[in-house]
Amino acid sequence: MSALLYDAQGPRAKRRNVLFTVAFLAVLAAVLWWVYLTLKDSGQLEWVLWEPFFTSSEPWSTYIWPGLQNTLKAAVLAVIIALPLGAVLGIARLSEHAWIRVPAGAVVEFFRAIPVLILMIFGLALFAEYTNVSSDDRPLYAVVTGLVLYNASVLAEIVRAGILSLPKGQSEAAMAIGLRKNQEMRLVLLPQAVTAMLPAIVSQLVVIVKDTALGGAVLTFPELLASANTMSGYYGANTIASFTVVAVIFIALNFALTSFASWLERRLRRAKKSTGAVVGVDEAQIAGGGGTAGGGVN
């Protein structure tokens, strides 16, 4: 569609495009020049501030790698716990018994309406007050709790959308050969839905990885962003350099996940063997819920 908003270009349009390109380039160059001057005036471009990242392994082994490990640890733990929880909630929401469907729906909508940070702060205080988790472990527990509560409810919606996206004939056929409700879900619908949901689940991983940074900024969880902060203190306030490095790592990690998700989506849409139902990367964010409190855009 987007390529069709304009015609193949004739000589006049081509000239105009060159003009626009030059003008845009000038604006970009002006902005970049301003950024450069500001950075230079504040001394943030001094080689001393950038040099540690290139000439020694110390910042990588002392700050970045341990931070990245904690980020990944929290993210992986959150996924492992949230995925089955989300599957249960999502299936419960499709139940034909109102006493299962309604509470599950309420839980999902409630936790989707509340910011992850609020859930994390709650988790931190909860572990401090009611459990004997050591104070070193509490931030990790709190981050994982917040991520699980929020993402389980988002994943529940993805699971629901995945099951609903299957052609009706699938459950009709299951019923026709005399499967029970539970067998129909377990043997026929869920295995197909999981394939259909994979791209949406992978792109939800990006949201989880990004949200771990909240723990670093607010809960003293020593993940990648938090280690950027201590690192810039150690290397003489090289804020810009440290943040650039950390941002690049986050971008690389999440970009890989995003690309993998859309590759998976394309592949699944092409596959002839499946039912052809795919819950795509974009659909996941609008999935289900009647459009009430949605948005896994965190």
Binding site: S2, L4, F20, L214
Partner: protein, 221 residues
């Protein structure tokens, strides 16, 4: 049991949250629309810029962006956005960060809206001699906006929840007050319930009302 509540300005904190959300919503709607226009336009350089912006910004955690506005822009580079006090500066920087981040999602929501406009509409518009900007402004975007209300609502709700990240740079909004109250008072469940309720009050009606609006304005095809 409820006495301590009068010591805290809960409504004031939520008002800051609402202000953050509204200002960033307007800002990111403008910047996001411009990005979407660049991404579907005929100038390759602008298309490349739009794509690069969206792909880079979407993959950085918002927390990194917000913290950078304070530590990087404010403290290292001394950019105050015209504020003479540090709390106003932090508020404005938080809005800037939220706009920079949210516009990437606005752009994508709009692009999905543009994709729902039938190709024939743009072809017909070109056939009567409209230029690209006229096609976009008069024919495609008005229809795209109407069908993008749903995705844009999701972005707005996510933005409302994302304003809590401003707590990381000390903007006095709901999440920061909640943290402070939990530290000072021994009423964890009550305090959490109040703030959870506050956010449910902000996000659920937004979803319901805009969901209704979205159905109302959607172009029936």
């Amino acid at each position: 049991m409820f006495d301590f509540l009068s010591d805290y300005d809960i409504l004031g904190a939520f008002w800051t949250t609402v202000q953050l959300a509204l200002l960033s919503a307007v800002g990111s709607l403008i910047w996001g629309t411009l990005l979407a226009a660049m991404r579907v336009g005929p100038v390759p350089l602008m298309r490349g810029f739009g794509t690069a912006y969206v792909n880079l910004v979407r993959n950085i955690p918002l927390t990194v962006i917000i913290l950078f506005t304070s530590l990087g822009l404010y403290q290292a580079l001394n950019i105050t956005l015209g504020a003479d006090r540090s709390d106003t500066a932090n508020f404005r920087l938080a809005v800037l960060g939220l706009i920079a981040y949210t516009s990437a999602f606005v752009c994508e929501a709009l692009r999905s809206g543009i994709n729902t406009v039938p190709v024939g509409q743009a072809e017909a518009a070109r056939a009567i001699g409209l230029s690209f900007s006229q096609v976009l402004r008069l024919v495609v975007l008005p229809q795209a906006f109407r069908s993008a209300v749903g995705p844009l609502t999701n972005v707005l709700i996510a933005l409302t929840k994302n304003t809590t990240v401003a707590a990381a740079i000390g903007v006095a909004e709901a999440a920061l007050l909640m943290k402070e109250m939990i530290e000072n008072e021994a009423q964890l469940l009550l305090i959490s319930a109040i703030f959870a309720f506050g956010f449910v009050c902000l996000t659920l009606p937004t979803g319901l009302i805009l969901g209704w609006v979205g159905k109302k304005v959607a172009v029936k095809r």
